[in-house]
């Protein structure tokens, strides 16, 4: 992998109906543009994995792309509910969504186990919670040295992980910084990884806390400036908090949501243009 490809080509080549797909980014660097391309191409029966489904999965769920959801916190941070997620779970609209839920610690460790190609991870967690009833993904193991019982989570290994990053270099290596969340683990846990980046540079700058991913663990890199909108890319844009607020009203009503999707060309047969980030979010 060396040269960037158009995002539409990357999604067409690597995201298939029925895949387990992880789009990661903890508030920061959420790969919205890639999600919109998945919707536009009409992918169906996906198992979506993400610690914080956020607006990005609310949109994909509302558009009917997902059959299952693996997650740990499904709210609109600081605003309220994810109405499309709720409508799918509570009313099966547009169809039933099966949920598998973790704590943050559990899902973060499940990705880490996946990145190490281990079948499970051990953590101190879940004890006494009803989350443990999901025996197929949360169990217990006993320490062979002390006899202490600890939680075990099944590894997560997505077919494809997609992230957004600030930079790629000419060789297709990728660099991200700021809040880097669980992106490294999610990429390394996947069979294939796609990265959208703000820009391509000759040489990476020095950035404390940066994560660098060598090109040989990536399936495709696409240059998508502002590809995280309405989330943000530190150094490139600020979070569009207004849109996060507006989403509450857009998503609350099925018709209004569908109109929004149509306007923004997010249904395979829609006539609207692509989602356009507001200029004001650039820094």
């Amino acid at each position: 992998m060396t040269s960037p490809v158009p995002l539409a080509d990357a999604i067409a080549a690597h995201v298939h109906d029925g895949d387990t797909v992880a789009l990661e980014g903890f508030t920061h660097l959420i790969p919205f543009a890639a999600a919109h391309e998945i919707a536009r191409q009409g992918r169906r029966h996906l198992t979506l994995v993400r610690m914080t489904p956020d607006l990005v999965y609310d949109q994909l769920i509302g558009l009917g792309c997902a059959d299952e959801l693996v997650f740990s916190y499904g709210g609109n941070p600081g605003v309220g509910s994810l109405h499309r997620l709720r409508d799918a779970v509570e009313n099966h609209w547009p169809h039933r969504l099966t949920v598998h839920e973790h704590s943050h610690a559990g899902l973060a460790n499940a990705y880490s186990a996946g990145a190490a190609r281990l079948p499970f991870a051990v953590l101190r967690g879940y004890h006494g919670t009803d989350l443990e009833e999901q025996r197929d993904i949360i169990s217990r193991v006993t320490c062979p040295f002390t006899g202490e019982e600890l939680a075990a989570v099944k590894a997560v290994n997505p077919d494809v992980t997609i992230i957004h990053a600030q930079l790629a270099d000419r060789d297709g290596n990728v660099m991200l910084w700021g809040i880097t969340g669980v992106q490294r683990e999610a990429v390394l846990a996947a069979e294939r990884a796609i990265v959208t980046v703000e820009e391509v540079v000759d040489e990476f700058p020095e950035r404390t806390g940066a994560v660098i991913l060598p090109n040989w663990v990536l399936a495709a890199v696409s240059v998508v400036p502002n590809g995280a909108w309405p989330s943000y890319a530190a150094g490139y844009s600020v979070r569009d908090n207004d849109f996060y607020q507006q989403w509450d009203a857009i998503s609350r009503d099925r018709e209004r949501f569908l109109a929004w999707a149509e306007e923004n060309g997010l249904a395979p047969d829609s006539v609207g243009g692509p989602v356009e980030p507001k200029e004001s979010t650039h820094v």
């Binding site: 508030t27 916190y73 600081g78 709720r86 700021g178």
Partner: protein, 250 residues
């Protein structure tokens, strides 16, 4: 004395529980307001840790999400989310964890997952997030939640984060558990013997009877109820500045 609301009082009372040197895991919503209020008032040396990975964050404005760039930019260190939960939260390095609740029972068990049945819920709530391990591992847990019979229930529909367990005696975790529940009515603390949440303090203008009526189980009331001092002008001014997102140099 300025005017203030019960929400103000709840945030101020929570902030007062943080002290210089405390390492505090800050979640979204009221905890975020309370922790930043403490840092702007009596506890400038408390240390804010966000589950997004920011350690010793010193946000200039009130962050709107726990992943704001200001947190990373002002933090001493930013770590990955797996590292945050394994090496910092799970390892017991957090002194104080603030949590919210959609439902809470008399033993401090918390539901943030569903109202109704898990697989066919009446209301799907956001879910567990970072709370289960914060509830288990933080030195002490402070729950901030408005008191009502719908929220303070006989039995939570789903245990998302464990307090003292179904009968108050099943806690098997590192930290001390929910040592304080701060509401818009007053403060509840676990009984030293039974761990049953007991009303121990009241905010100004609230009666014991009101607190009892706002609770979905027969609320235990301490013999000596303390009065919570009302918000000071300094506290109210700082709170207002935070809500207006005015920048402050740390």
């Amino acid at each position: 004395m300025s005017e203030w609301t019960s929400a103000d009082m709840m945030n101020v009372a929570a902030a007062r529980e943080l002290h210089d040197g405390d390492v505090c895991l800050v979640g979204v919503g009221p905890p975020n307001l309370a922790a930043n209020l403490a840092r702007r008032t009596h506890a400038p040396g408390c240390r804010l840790v966000y589950e997004s990975g920011a350690i010793d964050a010193r946000p200039k404005k009130l962050p709107l999400s726990i992943g704001d760039d200001d947190l990373a930019a002002t933090a001493t260190a930013v770590v990955s989310v797996p590292e945050m939960f394994n090496f910092w939260v799970g390892a017991g390095r957090i002194d104080v964890g603030f949590l919210g609740a959609a439902q809470i029972d008399r033993y401090g068990n918390i539901n943030t997952t569903v109202i109704g049945d898990h697989d066919n819920p009446k209301v799907r709530l956001p879910g567990a997030g970072g709370a289960p391990e914060i509830a288990a591992a933080a030195g002490r847990v402070i729950v901030i939640v408005k008191q009502s019979p719908r929220t303070f229930v006989e039995r939570v529909d789903f245990v998302s984060s464990v307090g003292y367990g179904p009968t108050g005696r099943e806690r098997m975790a590192r930290g001390a558990g929910p040592t304080l529940v701060i509401t818009d009515h007053g403060v509840l603390e676990p009984d030293p013997e039974t761990n049953e949440l007991t009303l121990t303090r009241l905010h100004q203008g609230v009666t014991v009877q009101q607190a009892v009526k706002a609770t979905g189980w027969p609320l235990k009331v301490a013999d000596d109820i303390e009065d919570v001092p009302p918000p000071s002008d300094e506290e109210l001014t700082a709170l207002q500045k935070l809500r207006n997102r005015e920048a402050v140099d740390a």
